[in-house]
Amino acid sequence: MDFGTFLWTTLGAFLTLATFSFLYKDNPFYKLAEHLVVGVSAGYFVIILWHNALVPLLFQRLSDGDWYLLWFNSSTPWYWIPAILGAMMWTRFSRNYAWVSRWPLALYIGIATGLAVPLEMANRVNKQLYASMANIDLGNFWGQGFLDATAGYSQVIIFAGAIAGLFYFFFSKSHTGVFGGVAKFGIWILMIGFGASFGYTVMGRISLFINRVQDLGLWGEAAFNASNPNHSGWFLAVFWIMVMGVAAYIVVELVKFARAKA
């Protein structure tokens, strides 16, 4: 096993445990892991942006010009326009010239809005409206199997649920009588929707934990299984150092607890 594999997998295992230590309470190990994630992400993003955006999309496109003409004689000199607009954004750091940054920002927001409004309206509003009001498939009304989303009755539930949900959010009339009943059905539909989201969220969070368990499991395999190709005595040494560190922390906490009680 090479030293790099040992170093990075061990660091991963240590940072995993350091992050989970927050579940007990805030501590310096958690803080270290937290700051490391933020710092590494920011640093990585800057390098990725430089090599994947600025170099190929700007510098390389101006590079066939002459430096003493400031590359204005390149075959694509109009790439100076986004370069200048980008540079204008940096004026935000000056109190006197911060207003200059509003121009490229205004241009960007204007273009983004122009692109977004028709496409968002067509694809996330209109198409959803059409789908909510689709013809009921009477030939396949009961569908196949339990809770078949393509069945006709599913279409009825979608339509009725959408209308009832809208009723619930209509506050210009008091929720009494038939109107109140429909609104109550609407809130039940909303709650079922939120419940599904909650269930998926729990699954997502547990999945993150499972991944860490799987990762720690692989690390443990390398540490304790002599037939593992990555096995090394170094893993065991680090394992016992970590165990001793955790044990020391628990002792310190117990002493603190005992003193506080006394």
């Binding site: 579940l23 007990y24 992400s41 990585y44 993003f45 990725i48 942006l49 994947n52 955006a53 190929p56 999309l57 390389q60 496109r61 983004a112 692109l115 977004a116 496409l119 968002e120 067509a122 694809n123 996330r124 198409k127 959803q128 059409y130 789908a131 078949d148 989303a149 393509t150 979608i158 929707g193 599904a196 989201s197 998926y200 969220t201 729990v202 699954m203 997502g204 969070r205 547990i206 999945s207 993150l208 934990f209 499972i210 991944n211 860490r212 368990v213 799987q214 499991g217």
Partner: protein, 288 residues
């Protein structure tokens, strides 16, 4: 303090500890749980499975390492399925911290493809997957909405070169490939609002078949797009990935994680029930 008060005032750290113990034990003990494949995952598998060799699948790896746990198994299962079927793959990574992780995934899958494997009774001989011939990794460019729109005109507008700096015109598999028209489908594996951009600016503008692989948190929000037929398939969370692995007969990290998932859910349901019983019984006692 009666038992219901104790239920309500249970230290949350006991919940965490029990979850850790249950997850660790179910991870260590080897057993399988049955995976039921839903229609929305089956449709993605069937679509890719019926493509002819040489056709192109576009896989958008639009997530950062923080969503790797849920989306990497999907990425591995779908991409390996494509390569085993001799399909060509274009890969992008439009999330800023994703390109290195995406490259690592491609290389790992390439290693796996070197081995002979039997899936669903069919023997696939191992072969070398070559960059530029079997796949093109275009990498990352900022402002994903504009990149998605730009690729609709020509992949070369946002990506004059691939991730390794090779001009797209010099890549053999990109010869004659201009835009989404030459792509059989797009599979977007995403952990954020890039999915919305693929729906609105991608499928909604250029009308290519789009399938989604999402984190569990996002899952429920995107089912309406299935009903409106804006997407033809949906994999949500680790369960979605496990279903694809089940269909492809290629068990991986997702299927391995589902047994832990089942028991972790049981613990959470137990605590939800405890909290509710404690709350309602406590309220009843207060009324008395």
């Amino acid at each position: 303090m009666n038992i219901f008060d104790r239920m309500m005032s249970l230290d949350r750290r006991w919940v965490f500890l029990l979850l850790v113990v249950v997850c660790a034990v179910t991870y260590i003990v080897p057993f399988q749980v049955p995976i039921r494949v839903e229609g929305e995952v089956r449709s993605i598998y069937d679509f890719i499975d019926t493509l002819k060799p040489g056709e192109i699948v576009f896989i958008a790896i639009d997530y950062d390492p923080n969503a790797l746990a849920e989306l990497h198994p999907m990425c591995y299962a779908v991409m390996e399925h494509c390569f085993r079927k001799n399909l060509k793959v274009i890969v992008t990574a439009l999330s800023q911290n994703g390109p290195g992780m995406a490259e690592q995934a491609i290389l790992n899958i390439s290693d796996s493809l070197m081995l002979d494997r039997e899936y669903n009774g069919v023997l696939y001989e191992g072969r070398e997957i070559r960059n530029g011939e079997d796949y093109a990794f275009l990498g990352y460019k900022p402002y994903f909405a504009l990149v998605i729109l730009g690729m609709g005109q020509n992949f070369r507008i946002p990506f004059p070169t691939d991730y390794y700096g090779t001009p797209l015109d010099s890549i053999p598999m990109m010869q004659g490939v201009q835009n989404y028209d030459q792509v059989a489908c797009v599979v977007d594996l995403s952990a954020g609002n890039i999915t919305d951009a693929w729906i609105s600016y991608g499928q909604g503008r250029f009308y290519f078949p789009l399938a989604l692989g999402l984190t569990g948190v996002m899952g429920a929000d995107y089912y309406p797009y299935l009903n409106s037929r804006q997407i033809f398939g949906l994999m949500a969370g680790l369960y979605g990935a496990a279903q694809y692995e089940e269909m492809a007969n290629n068990p991986g990290l997702a299927k391995d994680g589902m047994r832990v998932q089942v028991y972790a859910h049981l613990v959470i349901i137990l605590f939800i029930l405890m909290g509710n019983i404690g709350y309602f019984m406590g309220r009843r006692d207060e009324k008395k």
